[in-house]
């Protein structure tokens, strides 16, 4: 393989997380569903994902402490909290991204619909097709705009012929609100787009494989306000068909896009509630201190 080809494969693997490192997790049936520390209602009427007694360890470090939380179907839930609070770690548990970190160990139960995602029978690649992810920095593959979107459906064998693939690529770009901007330049490299366009390309790539849940890890932190507004509008539209979990450092963003907000602090899920309640009348002092900017 040429150097470019190797780079391409590495980038593809990284982006789709096809890393097949040995699994370090154990699936423990949790019976104590009462998470006493969390303020607010962790359950919802119509859950898409159900997490109970989730603990994450990086070696000796206890990064997530007995977290229980439901993610409602077709809701946007925001995870907020100071750096190192575990929000990204918890997000990465939801499609087993933490599998790629050798010293990371996850216990507890996370269910997607009725499937325990840490069960031995679960194919991680399939899981990540169902639970897609968008990262902080736009990371298009070093390939054409078309190929960026086409790659997932192709490897998952979702289409039968080129025409079907063309339709799927266009539909995904359409849903990501990018089609008008890239219609005439499908063959150009994905990296030739602006930062905001690249991020929408990554969202198009994520939705091309028809996921049920989309995880977003600070998707707008590298974008300007206009590009951010476009992504936020997109999130609002995508909510109709997908369940979206967004980690963000911007409380205004969490307030704008989400219906529920969860506040993490030092690995604990401190409080969860309706977004307007969290931002106008939080119940826990730590939440209040964080959202009002009182952390010493």
């Amino acid at each position: 393989m040429s150097t470019t080809a190797i780079e391409t494969k590495v980038a593809l693997d990284q982006a789709l997380n096809l890393d097949t490192a040995p699994r370090k997790q154990s699936s423990v049936e949790v019976t104590d569903y009462n998470n006493r520390q969390t303020v607010g209602n962790i359950t919802v009427d119509n859950p898409k994902m159900v997490c109970r007694g989730v603990n994450v360890y990086y070696g000796e470090k206890h990064a997530i402490k007995n977290v229980g939380l439901d993610i409602g179907a077709n809701e946007v839930i925001a995870f907020i909290g100071p750096s190192g609070c575990g929000k990204s770690t918890f997000l990465r548990c939801l499609n087993r991204m933490n599998d790629t970190i050798p010293i990371c160990r996850v216990t507890g139960q996370i269910r997607l619909d009725s499937d325990d995602i840490y069960d031995k029978s679960i194919d991680v690649v399939q899981l990540r097709a169902r639970v897609g992810m968008v990262f902080q920095k736009p990371n298009p593959f070093p390939k054409s705009i078309y190929e960026n979107v086409a790659y997932g459906p192709r490897i998952h064998g979702m289409v039968n012929d080129k025409a079907e693939l063309d339709d799927l690529v266009r539909a995904s770009l359409e849903r990501a609100g990018l089609i008008k901007e890239v219609d005439k330049r499908m063959g150009e490299p994905g990296t030739s787009l602006s930062g905001g366009q690249q991020q929408r390309l990554c969202i198009a790539r994520a939705i091309a494989v028809n996921p049920e849940v989309i995880l977003m890890d600070e998707p707008c932190s590298a974008l300007d306000p206009i590009a951010t507004a476009k992504i936020e509008e997109l999130i609002d539209e995508l909510r109709e068909n997908y369940t979206i979990i967004i980690v963000t450092h911007s409380m205004q963003q969490a307030a704008r896009v989400s219906q529920r907000t969860a506040y993490f602090h030092l690995g604990d899920l401190i409080e969860v509630g309706d977004t307007d309640q969290i931002f106008t009348n939080p119940k826990h002092k730590l939440t209040e201190d964080y959202i009002t900017g009182r952390f010493g």
Partner: protein, 240 residues
Amino acid sequence: MAISQDAHTVKQFDVLLANLRNLVLEMGGLVEEQIKHAIQALDDEDLIAAREVISRDQIINGLQVKADEDCVSIIALRQPLGSDLRLIMSLSKIVTDLERIGDEAEKIARMTVKTYDGVSSPPSAKLLRDVVPMARLAQDMLHGCLDALARLDVEKAVEVAQGDDELDQEFQSALRRLITYMMEDPRTIGQAINVIFIVKALERIGDHSKNIAEYIIYLVKGKDVRHVSMDVLVQDALEE
């Protein structure tokens, strides 16, 4: 969650919030003075003092505009959340009620000028007998809610809200008495109507003070207790 007393990481934000709160309290102090002087002028039949009250209302109007400007600027520049947001919203509403209380004081002063203009005969003492006790109740309510605002004291705010009933009852009995005088002696009608305007102004001061007390409960407890029964208000305000 009650209001956090800890300092913000951005100290300038604390300064802005403290300045705004002080401005509103200063405005409250001036409004209190206005009522006091208006009632005193009425009692003393002092037209000069009454006219001073009328002209001082402009200062209170100016403070209202300033406070609202500060609220808008803090929202635009600091994007307050949680208790900070509730503080800004409450203060912005409180200044509206304070300004209206100022207007009521001005109204009393105008009635004083009208009553003792030297053209018509001054009202007899019995027509005015309800004014001073009602003024005392209204002043207590206003003082109580400013006190509650300064100390973020929910119990005090509840006490103020509860006090409004007594003032309303006083107003109703004052009205009944004034109607009786007017029926007994129609020559008193002109003066009695002036007195009705005065006691109505005092009754309104009670209403505005109750509003302020409700905003303080919202500010501290995050619960909207407007338009609920007194039982619900007390329960919401005092439960942990």
